[in-house]
Symmetry: D3
Subunit: 157 residues, 6 copies
């Protein structure tokens, strides 16, 4: 594990010698809730209002707070974030895409966007469904940097 | 949904008239990773070092940042947080317990602790297992306040 | 001025002896922009999308950051925030209402909500109208606490 | 509006392909208050103390918090901030200048500096003048980047 | 050590059952620098300007950030902060006083105020004296709560 | 003093024209406490647990918060941080090393890492030794940038 030294002490790894290149990461996850909540989120016959916008914003703003939340993450220039939400029959699919032109990858920023969007969704539905959960927060793909492209293997859920 | 008004506009619900009572919430989740990473985290024959401590701290500090991350959450007095991590054969089980003597529940704080501990774990293992995921971030139980005790129903995963 | 001592040194005034009471403040302001932007915000014939939701959320989250932004403000329990936005012929009217049951008033939180909602609006319209401005950020009324009710005098703009 | 996509969903626009160039923005605004407060701020015969320094610092520190406050703003390198305050007969004129060598402009940082300096001023004078207001928060000029120089048109207030 | 459990795991200790009482803490420290810098800070014949105000504000604002900085500290209501700076022949003496009516003591807030004021002072003088140091950051006394009054023993430096 | 202009007004100095170069800073300090606490921290015969990890993490995360804490500091890319802790007979020696490839030096980040690690240590030992102190927070050396290498002179403590 690169984040601890030979004695096991945590450190923020030195990346000052790495090259500034364009990097992109895509992460996903999903809110699992009840049919009743899905109907409310779909807003059939009612103003669905800001619910999805709140989650989208929470995801974008959460991505910017990544170095505050993940102790050994570098504070980097975050140059683009989108959070796409799709209402399904069992909840909400969350996909976040992050981009940078800097010295490290942005997969932690994408994962943090997904996690905070998921937390915001739970916060909004918890009065109706206190058992809602966030599932499968994971990286789908990343591009750029020394390691180049990585795509989630099919044998991983 | 209580967090939007009749027109669908997001708001932070007024809780100034609610009573100050002791409240507790327990949330859980888990990191799913490879056998190779589990061996590293167990640290057999090696200094396992700060890895679990980093995740525990990330969870505790993340709980304190909840009102910064979850747009409609109230900033409240957070009076106790524990984050328990257990290494399993497939990853790490995360359980967070939060306590307050204030006007709203602390389940969002417990969920945020679990999510940030999970993000910190992924950050530490991602060089070895870029496909690690966070699963089943959910409330297990909550106590106190007007609604009293709530325990996760057995029919919800 | 209460925020500086007899020598002129800034301080955060001691309020530990003040009573916990319910307090409320209402502040307002407005974005002034072009007719073209007003049409876009109204979204006639187009998805107006998240624009107003972004400003509403920025206002609510900004209110929570007040003690981080205003150097001598106390960090207090903020127990309710609403941000109401009305599109007019010349821009957007912003009204924020904040509530607490704590030891100090919440007019700075209401003003900060108005100012951050205004900044978010400018950010969204600046590509179309770089000359948009925020006007008349002011307290309309406050209630509760030792000083009781205060209503903006009619002779002040 | 560039900050929402074709469906109206908010996003942080991708700027990773933009060029790093030196950019500068100047924004302004003003505190409007009573003659009594102006006399206090001028400090005739008294130590005026830290009042203006508090507002100046609030403005500089507020500029650094811009990406935390304005949801769709990029976190960028902020390479210079000045906040100039001038006491007038009706209040305080606020002018903020921000500079960067990065991929986006810094007009939101300049506007945030003006707004937070204004909020800090209101906080300090509100015990004497609870009706003080912030007026005309606007960009005066910006330079650098692809769009080059922009100067506030004379027909805009 | 109360901040780790029987297995050595860090935790934020539960204080929800503790009584809300008025508490006060006084901490101190000092900047040690050169005679040249002392002359500049005294500002003889020159505008000494905002230097001391910057440090005072940094201390007050730093006290508010204590729960963000000290991992196991509780976020509490901070009800008063003063930071007193005295220029001496060898530098600047820093004394911070913090007050609360809440469930835990405020000595960490007082110490954080002293440390951040000291850091701000070093930042301002480092171009002239890069070897300036912060010394003797320590609690002088605390009052209130279950343990009552504690005064620094004379045999501790 | 570069941080104030000719009139004494604080400012964040413009560094947009400075060159991006690799820079490094090393700062140090120490916790001074009792023999009893040293025994606890050494953990002889007991799980010493997370105590040192908490301080190490506080230091690393504190370094990232430097521009939030030190009013006139630039927000910069922080590309590496290590915090080394050594238990001595009288307390804990703290050494922080920070690296960047950006436009300003990182000595304030190194000093902030030392100060926050020290505050976290005091927080953990204060129940046993309320008189623990932080001593000698100072820069040991810095490298890179226009001024090149600087090593603490031997005649400074």
């Amino acid at each position: 594990m690169t984040h601890v030294d030979a004695d096991g002490a945590a450190r923020m790894v030195d990346v000052s010698a790495k090259t500034v290149t364009v990097r992109r990461a895509v992460a996903a996850g999903r809110l699992v809730t009840t049919a009743e909540v899905v109907t409310l989120l779909r807003g059939d016959g009612l103003p669905k209002g800001d619910a999805l916008a709140v989650a989208r914003l929470a995801g974008i703003m959460g991505a910017k707070r990544t170095p505050d939340l993940v102790p050994l993450c570098h504070p980097i220039g975050l140059h683009g974030v989108t959070v796409d939400l799709t209402i399904t029959d069992t909840g909400v699919d969350i996909v976040a895409t992050t981009r940078t032109a800097d010295r490290t990858g942005v997969e932690m920023e994408a994962l943090t966007a997904v996690a905070t969007a998921g937390l915001a969704l739970i916060d909004m539905v918890k009065a109706v469904d206190p058992a809602a959960s966030i599932e499968a927060v994971r990286v789908l793909r990343k591009e750029g940097g020394k390691t180049g492209e990585w795509v989630r293997p099919q044998d991983r859920p």
